[in-house]
């Protein structure tokens, strides 16, 4: 199948998101679509598949102008979209999820369970996925859920598959499995639109690349004819120097020390410490238990045993408000679900953990609030016209900066960052790294969970590797390599 999209325009109300995008897809190619957060990549694909109607422009499929009315119609015509946000029903089984909206039924209108099971099994085998079909989707890890989505898409006999950040939640292993699948799909003549913020992947798997900026196409090139720096320059519109900014490392006293943290079946005997000004990276496979450990430290989940020491004093943290009082901040991995109140303004989100300090006499002081918020917006270079704009309107990277700002506001001793750059574009990523560095220079201790090995290697002073809920190794910055981390993460084979 061959698709040509020309001069596509799309506005949401007065917000002009696409202002003349050109994009074309050849049969059997893997075409990367890159651009900063909010550049309009997802919107472009939503226009193609009929979720949004275009305002202007033409779409030609195999030489014929074609406009789909809804995603279902697109799918029936061989175009499948694996969305950036997972479309998973947590309470349904894996099998039910696989067939939602396209169940097989017999002449009486009843479900054909056997056939559906057999089909699902076959598909899972192809992907070498081994999730039981009657498992509830909510007890699957994010990575498993992503694989379910991919399997679902592959079952439609698609001729075009759009993958919107498919690897954001996948481990290296799962990613390499996905790449195998992509390669074999390509051989069958299937075309793939591949949207990702991970540069390595683009160069590893794609044939061509289109870069978008501010709702326009900047350039389309064959992959061998371009390089990392050029792509970044085109995306950001300016030169971006080193990817991981340098920092003067100066470590101080121990801020956090945990001993023997245990929660049955999730993690066991976890002990480590973090120093003033130190960034401790936490690596591991999907579902290794990294998030769970941090949630327990922050008082979000109960644990069975273990001690937490903060600045040499033993503390008991039973709920987040206690953690906040002790000067701990937690930037969760799911920004929209746990980090932000999307309808709230930037300002209201930022002051949330420090509310009472703005109301010494009971009433919130608008002036001091404004000063505080303006200061944070400036310091974190949040791109917004006004602090009173609803945060849901900002791009992903800017949203993430507001989450960080919120925690900087409490004057933290310890910041826990769980996948701080997930789904964030290169430009914003670098600014977040810069910010982490500034914080450590002021003596803040940082724990950073990340599934991106380059990030772990580039940013951490020390690296903890978690395997099945246990710390399987600690690596100093100097000794760490991708291979060593992967070995520890998979249990040391």
């Amino acid at each position: 199948m061959q698709i040509i999209m020309q001069n596509i325009h799309k506005a949401f109300g007065t917000n002009e998101v696409l202002t003349g995008v050109d994009f074309d897809l050849l049969e059997g190619e893997v075409h990367a679509l890159m651009g900063e957060n909010g550049a309009g990549k997802s919107t472009m694909m939503n226009v193609l598949t009929g979720l949004h109607a275009r305002d202007k422009g033409t779409i030609t499929i195999d030489g014929k102008e074609t406009y789909f009315k809804n995603p279902k119609e697109a799918e029936q015509n061989g175009i499948t979209f694996i969305h950036q946000e997972l479309n998973i029903w947590p309470e349904m089984t894996v099998l039910e999820n696989l067939f939602i909206g396209k169940e097989l039924k017999n002449a009486f209108g009843l479900l054909k369970m056997k056939e559906m099971k057999a089909l699902a099994k076959k598909q899972f085998e192809k992907l070498s996925v081994s999730i039981p079909l009657d498992k509830e989707a909510e007890s699957c890890s994010v990575g498993e859920q992503q694989m379910i989505e991919i399997a679902k898409a592959l079952m439609t006999d698609a001729k075009v598959i759009i993958m919107d950040e498919p690897t954001a939640a996948l481990t290296e292993r799962e990613i390499s499995k996905l790449f195998d699948v992509i390669t074999s799909l390509k051989k069958e003549g299937v075309s793939i639109v591949y949207i990702s913020h991970r540069m390595e992947e683009i160069f590893a798997i794609c044939d061509r690349i289109t870069v978008m900026r501010d709702g326009k196409t900047v350039d389309t090139k064959e992959i061998p004819e371009t390089n990392f720096d050029e792509v970044v320059r085109k995306m950001v519109g300016r030169e971006l120097t080193d990817r991981f900014p340098k920092r003067n490392q100066e470590l101080g006293e121990t801020v956090l020390q945990v001993k023997g943290l245990t929660k049955k079946g999730i993690f066991e005997d976890v002990s480590f410490s973090v120093l003033e000004g130190e960034i401790v990276g936490v690596s591991g496979l999907m579902g290794a238990g990294r998030t769970e450990i941090m949630r327990a430290i922050f008082g979000l989940d109960a644990m069975d045993s273990g001690e937490i020491w903060l600045e040499g004093k033993k503390v008991i943290i039973k709920s987040p408000d206690q953690a906040v009082k002790l000067g701990i901040g937690f930037i969760t991995e799911d920004r929209k679900d746990e980090g932000l109140i999307l309808d709230f303004s930037i300002s209201d989100n930022m002051i949330l953990p420090t509310l009472s300090s703005f109301a010494p006499k009971g009433l919130i002081n608008d002036k001091s609030t404004k000063e505080f918020v303006d200061m944070l917006i400036k310091r974190l270079t949040v791109k917004t016209e006004s602090p009173d704009i609803a945060i849901g309107k900002l791009s992903g990277g800017n949203q993430q900066k507001v989450v960080i700002a919120k925690w900087i506001g409490i004057g933290p001793k310890l910041l826990i960052l769980d996948e701080p750059t997930r789904g964030v574009d290169v430009g914003a990523k670098r600014e977040i790294y810069q910010l982490m560095n500034e914080l450590t220079e002021r003596g803040v201790a940082i724990i950073m969970i990340s599934s991106e090995l380059p990030e772990i290697l580039g940013m951490s002073d020390r690296i903890l590797v978690v395997h099945e809920g246990k710390i399987s190794g600690v690596l100093a910055k100097e000794d760490a390599t991708q291979e060593k981390i992967m070995t520890l993460a998979t249990g040391g084979q």
């Binding site: 995603p71 309470e91 349904m92 067939f99 169940e103 479900l111 999730i131 009657d134 079946g265 290794a288």
Partner: protein
């Protein structure tokens, strides 16, 4: 990788959960029946059980429709008013000279249409189900009163089939109970064995994703509210036959009993999770309470207190499992 290892345990846990989810309400019912029959053995007499089934039928039918609605994450406060309006219209048709059975069928269709009106406000009008059906509840009730001028409609004649429908027996079983069981069987299949049922769950679980997955969310919702209205009208037909008249105030606050039955049956008010079998059990629990407390001579004031407490306990236990 990891998935393989972590399976064995969650698998077991899942199964246990599934068992308690399925059996939790049933267990509650059994305990309740045991208590009542120890205190008053006449509860278990076949005649009383049949009695109870007949009494339960009306609430159960409404609650079946409510189950679909709640599974989509909605709520339908208008069922009691739809029951009354469709019942009044049915009776009006009978008085006008229609064959009672034909009138009943028309009544059910009208009930279905009223439900679809709800569905349209909720989907096309993007209104919260609570407020849309609160408004139509008031409107339908008002229309009933306007139509009947506040008086019951009587003189429904002596049509045998019509009288059978609410009062009769078939093979010794009250006809309303049979209607309830047949309806249950059909809806069980619809909910658990057809794409329509899957879509119902999918909408409740994640509406946006359902839409993106090509489910015609609006159409399905309108049909579900229509189903709810139609079942309320069916319940109304039973009531009309039983009372041999259409009462303008019939069905007042039936929506609350139906919702209670659904929730007692383990269906979550936030949608996407639950089973219609549970609703049947939930309706039986409420019926047993009403019937049992009466048999035990508990004053109606204390009955309210006991019913409230039972709902609290049942839901709390359900949370803990």
């Amino acid at each position: 990788m990891n998935s393989i290892q972590s399976d064995s345990k969650p698998g077991m846990k899942n199964m246990m959960n599934a068992v308690t989810q399925k059996l939790g309400p049933l267990l509650g019912l059994i305990i309740l029946v045991a208590i009542v029959s120890i205190l008053n053995p006449s509860f278990l007499e076949p005649l009383n059980i049949l009695n109870l089934l007949r009494q339960v039928a009306i609430n159960a039918l409404i609650a079946f429709g409510m189950t679909f609605v709640i599974l989509t994450g909605g709520i339908d406060l208008s069922v009691g008013a739809i029951l009354a309006l469709s019942s009044a219209l049915t009776a009006g048709l009978i008085v006008y000279g229609f064959d009672p059975i034909v009138a009943m069928i028309i009544g059910c269709i009208l009930g279905g249409l009223m439900g679809m009106v709800n569905g349209l406000f909720i989907t096309k009008g993007k209104m919260a189900p609570f407020i849309a059906t609160l408004a139509t509840m008031t409107i339908f009730r008002g229309l009933t009163l306007v139509y009947t001028d506040g008086n019951p409609i009587t003189i429904l004649g002596e049509n045998y089939l019509f009288q059978l429908f609410g009062r009769g027996y078939f093979l010794g079983i009250p006809v309303p109970a049979i209607t309830m069981i047949i309806t249950f069987a059909i809806l069980y299949i619809v909910l658990h064995k057809t794409p329509f049922g899957r879509k119902t769950y999918a909408i409740g679980g994640n509406e946006k994703a359902a839409f993106i997955s090509g489910i015609k969310v609006q159409k399905v919702k309108v049909m579900i509210y229509g189903l709810s209205g139609m079942l309320a009208a069916l319940a109304g037909a039973i009531l009309t036959s039983r009372l041999n008249s259409a009462q303008p105030t019939a069905g007042t606050s039936y929506e609350l009993d139906a919702i209670a039955a659904v929730v007692l049956g383990g269906t979550s008010l936030s949608g996407g999770k639950g089973r219609i079998f549970g609703t049947l059990i939930g309706a039986l629990i409420i019926g047993t309470l009403n019937n049992g407390l009466n048999l035990l001579g508990v004053s109606s004031f204390y009955q309210m207190v006991v019913k409230g407490i039972v709902i609290l306990i049942a839901v709390l236990l359900d949370r803990k499992k």
